[in-house]
């Protein structure tokens, strides 16, 4: 058992380029009751749950999430587990955020504008926002927040994407300037991470004060938290709930049993294999969200046999992607083309979809000097639902191409231990990100999680250019060109993008599909209300 399954998942950040192209969610998704409409621009999102009419106030929402443990914390800037994220999102707010369509929206900021050289970003703050203790939000709080996050002695989660930030200058109570050391055309993206919640100047995580829709009431790490409604929240009418309880679960079956026996009102991330059957229960509704998450196999491009691109390409051709999605995700996912960031406006959608081609894979292996096939060890761990399953399906498929995959299953702590980023052939999991922030994390020689040891001069050059290009069209061309290189030579096998599926009781209203990969509408419980009798 690995109860800490999700304790060390890749943190989703919401940094990305501005979305110009809007993708409607697939209509073929199996959804609970009736269809749903993807949120239209600007309008209120449509709700698919059964309670009708205007939102009702009151009640307690009990949310069950798996993951977390004794290390859980309410620190605004160090969320680690899914449960941490859910709590942080409801206590604190960042300047910008990614909405359910993966579009960048203002939150505590009303605007973020770059200078012509993209070296200074001016941010205007929302007026009339107060912290939970009644004090108003000012520019000084913003400056103090970013100072705390980028503290060189104790850098917080969001610091890695803020390496270009020199200082935050307070212009007045409602305006700050972010001064950068390198031009960053998409710096607003970096500000849209939930781990950058604005806190008061004198913030102490022991008294978790923010501007979020809910206020801290009680918290036991690894067990549960209870938050109450923020009466002075800046949005009209929201939040509707009186109380929000977030409960940790160690494993999925306890989570589902709790849902089916109505011990919780909503659960985040149910196993996709169970989606259909849970949906068959008339009391339960399903939230099935298409996302840009990916669960790649990682091949080290600097280690044999994967230092030979023919081997890498052969492995990519050995995968039957449709079957992967069928077996691992029960069909709830979109097909991958060995590329990440599918929602990025620069995504190289023109590249042909790669399909299984065993004959070609064998040819390539023979050319690379393995005419009789080869044996590799695949290191896997339950780092995310479906990871160990994907390894098993891959092993089965690759056998046809003469690749003998020996699965070595380790526990999560071992996986992320000394061997992490060093495994020759392993797996990983990433949430939705746009291309440039993703590359910063995983695909540059300077990236902290460069698990494939990818260092391609031409690719690096294209990325550097794109970072400094303010014109979206030009930038997107550069991104597509960089992606093509990875498509032809990269060390990732990206077979698909799993959907995020959550389940909730019929009487829960206000949840909408969300592309960020965060469960339950990106944990935006401010929108949730309870229908029916609330006695």
């Amino acid at each position: 058992m690995e109860p800490a399954t999700s304790s060390r998942q890749r943190l989703p950040d919401t940094s990305a380029l501005q979305l110009t192209r809007r993708r409607l969610l697939g209509t073929g998704l199996a959804l609970g009751l009736g269809g749903f409409l993807a949120a239209c621009s600007g309008g209120q999102p449509n709700v698919l749950a059964s309670p009708e009419g205007p939102p009702q106030s009151g009640g307690t929402l009990r949310v069950g999430l798996s993951g977390g443990g004794a290390a859980d914390s309410l620190d605004a800037h160090s969320p680690v587990s899914t449960t941490d994220i859910a709590r942080v999102v409801n206590l604190y707010e960042s300047l910008l955020y990614r909405d359910e369509n993966y579009e960048l929206q203002p939150l505590l900021a009303v605007s973020a504008t770059p200078s012509d050289d993209a070296l200074v970003w001016t941010v205007d703050l929302r007026k009339g926002v107060t912290f939970h203790d009644g004090r108003p939000l000012t520019g000084r709080d913003v400056a103090a927040t970013f100072k705390r996050i980028t503290d060189p002695d104790d850098p917080k989660t969001g610091a890695s994407s803020l390496s270009v930030l020199d200082e935050v200058a307070v212009i007045n109570d409602h305006r700050v300037e972010f001064r950068l050391n390198t031009a960053a055309a998409t710096f607003d993206d970096s500000l849209g991470q939930y781990a950058l919640g604005i806190v008061p100047e004198d913030y102490d995580p022991a008294t978790p004060v923010g501007t979020g829709p809910f206020k801290y009431q009680s918290f036991t790490p690894g067990r549960s938290s209870l938050f109450v409604r923020n009466e002075n929240y800046w949005r009209d009418n929201e939040p509707y709930l009186d109380e929000l309880a977030i409960l940790n679960f160690d494993d999925d079956d306890a989570l589902i049993n709790a849902l089916l026996s109505t011990q919780v009102d909503a659960v985040g991330q149910i196993p996709l294999a169970l989606l259909e059957v849970i949906d068959a229960d008339p009391r339960i509704s399903i939230l099935n969200s298409e996302t840009g998450m990916w669960m790649p196999f990682t091949m080290r491009v600097d280690k044999p046999p994967f230092d030979d691109n023919r081997v890498r390409q052969a492995f990519r051709l050995a995968v039957d992607r449709e079957q992967m999605i069928e077996q691992v995700l029960s069909g709830n996912g979109s097909i991958g083309n060995d590329l990440y960031s599918p929602f990025d406006p620069g995504y190289a959608s023109k590249l042909p979809q790669r399909v299984q081609d065993i004959a070609r894979a064998k040819e390539l292996l023979a050319e690379a000097g393995y005419p009789d096939g080869l044996s590799v060890e695949l290191v896997t761990a339950p780092i995310q639902a479906g990871a160990v399953e994907a390894a098993q399906v891959f092993a089965q498929q690759a056998a046809a191409a003469g690749i003998n995959v020996k699965i070595r299953r380790v526990d999560t702590t071992t996986f992320f231990g000394d061997g992490y980023l060093q495994w020759d052939f392993a797996q990983d999991f990433w949430y939705t990100r746009n291309f440039l922030p993703q590359v910063n994390n995983s695909s540059l020689p300077t990236a902290p999680y460069n698990e494939t040891h990818w260092d391609h001069p031409e690719f690096n050059e294209l990325v550097a250019q794109a970072k400094g290009t303010l014109d979206p069209d030009k930038r997107n061309e550069l991104i597509a060109a960089a992606q093509e290189i990875e498509y032809n030579e990269g060390g990732y096998i990206i077979w698909g993008h799993p959907n995020q599926a959550d389940a909730y009781q019929q009487y829960v209203a206000g949840l909408v599909p969300n592309r960020t990969g965060l469960a339950l509408s990106g944990f935006e419980f401010r929108r949730v209300w309870l229908g029916g009798d609330l006695s």
Binding site: D251, S330, A391
Partner: protein, 295 residues
Amino acid sequence: MSVIDSPQDIAREVETPPGLLRRLVRQRQAKIGIALTGVVVLLAVLGPLLLPWATGYTSTQFAGRPFQADGLFGTDNLGRDVLSRFLDGGLRLLIYAALATLLGMVLGGLTGMVAAYQGGWVDSIIMRANDVMLALPQLVFALLAITVLGPQGWVLVVVIGITHAPRIARVTRSATVEVITEDFIRAAEMYAVPKWKILVKDVLPNITGPLMVELGLRMTYSIGAVASLSFLGLGMQPPTADWGLMINENRIALVVQPWGVILPVLAIAVLTVGTNLITDSLARASANVNVGATK
């Protein structure tokens, strides 16, 4: 993985007249036990041979989407045929449980006999070491060992075997103590027969009764232990078909597609009940020469 040495403790009898097995099979309870165990063992041994002739799939082939009702017992968490996995998954459990029991018997039997025969400080050291092993919580030991060495078959066998050893050693020692005071041992000693020969030729045959009971008891616990560890996720490496692993993999669908759990759970239950019935009858047969005579 409970650690109970009762109720077979009653059965420590030195004298083992011929016909222990005959007395065993004369009991109705033993017959039921043998039948139950036999069914599961046959299933486990023949299962892999029947594939894919019986179900149309091997145990790693995909039959459909996960947790569907396709086929006789539906599909598992990866869309593999539950029946195929089930048929292919019993032999390993049996083999591992048997090996673990055997290891425990050899370790425990040897140390117990040596402790009793040598006496003195050797006895003291062995028995105190035994006490330490007994005090170390079994599951903590298993958890740590498997986390250190990784979940693999041989680790399971060694871990379970070692946890059995001190209990077997205790039983063996007290049985041996009673035998070595007998005249024929003294006689053998006087003829300067080597110690190991005395142990093997004279002592061992005279303690088979309690040892057989212990064997049955430990086998029951081994099966439970291998399955429990797999249930906790500390068992075999995927994609191996294994009953314990099946329970772990399909537990999330207990409510909706329970066969992936129920089949292996049922088989394990029948198996452990069977071996327990045999053990119980064995204890009776070993304790009482007249068992079964009236039935």
